[in-house]
């Protein structure tokens, strides 16, 4: 055994025993998603802990945030998840046209979601709601001072109660939005590759893997929307 043969590594062709039974890229994506679960656990867990232990009455989210708009945005994100999985179904049947169509829809859905979030951030900060809470002298600060902002557990809040509300709101939704943005970038890349004929009925792993990430991002939002906007 001596010749230094350069063997080209082909991890996907490795035979397997004691394996999980899914191809390497999909396994890799699921393992990555496990780490993402822990990342959002840190943010969401902290939110739960800080809110549960909060001395001040927590603001009623509906008094500060735009629920109807966000509910609609949630619906759009769910739709983009559907279009993603339709794209995946299409390519497993060899339907190139369907793949392209549904991928484009997904890209738009994702971009729309990010756009609405960006608008939401702009609008809220305009009204005086920032990561640090209510900006002194702003519209929201004045209203809180005058007892016009309801508490989630009854009564009204003091302006200081918005400090943690802002910290947790912006960090959680901000990092979720960051993840969606990364997802949109990947989605565009996959769409371009699809238009170049990069996927086939037997070679669609990239579509499935990016789809898993996309659904995950949707899943996190399902949790976030409920516990941040509706609780």
């Amino acid at each position: 055994m001596a010749h230094a043969a350069t063997v080209h590594p082909h991890p996907e062709h490795a035979p397997g025993q004691g394996q999980v039974g899914v191809y390497t890229q999909k396994l890799g994506m699921w393992i990555f998603l496990c780490s993402e679960v822990m990342f959002f656990t840190a943010l969401i867990g902290s939110y739960i802990i800080l809110r549960w232990g909060s001395v001040e009455v927590w603001p009623r989210p509906q008094s500060v945030l735009n629920i109807p708009l966000t509910a609609f945005n949630t619906f759009i994100l769910i739709c983009s998840s559907v279009s993603m999985v339709k794209a995946f179904a299409a390519i497993t049947h060899g339907d190139q046209a369907g793949l392209k169509k549904w991928l484009v829809v997904t890209c738009f859905g994702g971009a729309f979601f990010v756009g609405v979030q960006a608008y939401e951030y702009w609008h809220l900060s305009h009204e005086g709601f920032v990561p640090g809470g209510f900006v002194e002298g702003s519209e929201l600060f004045r209203r809180a001072l005058e007892g016009h902002i309801a508490g989630a557990t009854g009564g009204t809040i003091v302006p200081a109660a918005a400090n943690l509300f802002g910290s947790t709101f912006y960090t959680m939704t901000g990092f979720h939005g960051f993840h969606v943005t990364c997802g949109v970038v990947c989605m565009i890349w996959v769409t371009i590759k699809a238009f170049r004929g990069g996927y086939t009925q037997t070679g669609y792993h990239g579509v499935e893997v990016v789809g898993l990430y996309w659904h995950f991002v949707d899943l996190v939002w399902i949790i976030l929307f409920t516990i941040v906007y509706l609780f």
């Binding site: 232990g53 949630t74 179904a89």
Partner: protein, 92 residues
């Protein structure tokens, strides 16, 4: 390595309708005037139901090998431990 089985595709439109309906219910019950405890419970249940729909059907976990499910479930008890333990810091 290619999977040996035929790709199963559940009815994605049915799942989509389910998700839309659950979202509408979620938003709706906020304005129902339920007691806080019941509202929280109902919202959590609805959110978990939606999350499961996405995970099981869109992410195909229902049709994947059981070993993958075990891997995927691993972070959850850890998340629970962190939150439950730290919540003990508060008297209530």
């Amino acid at each position: 390595m290619a999977e040996a089985f035929e790709r199963k595709h559940p009815n994605y439109i049915a799942v989509w309708i389910g998700l839309a309906v659950l979202t509408a219910i979620e938003v709706g019950i906020v304005y129902f005037g339920l007691t806080r405890r019941f509202l929280i419970l109902a919202l959590m249940l609805l959110a978990v139901w939606k999350a499961l729909l996405v995970a099981l059907y869109f992410m195909h976990l229902k049709f994947e090998p059981k070993r993958l499910l075990i891997i995927v479930l691993t972070p959850l008890p850890l998340a629970l431990i962190l939150v439950v333990f730290v919540l003990q810091e508060y008297g209530r």
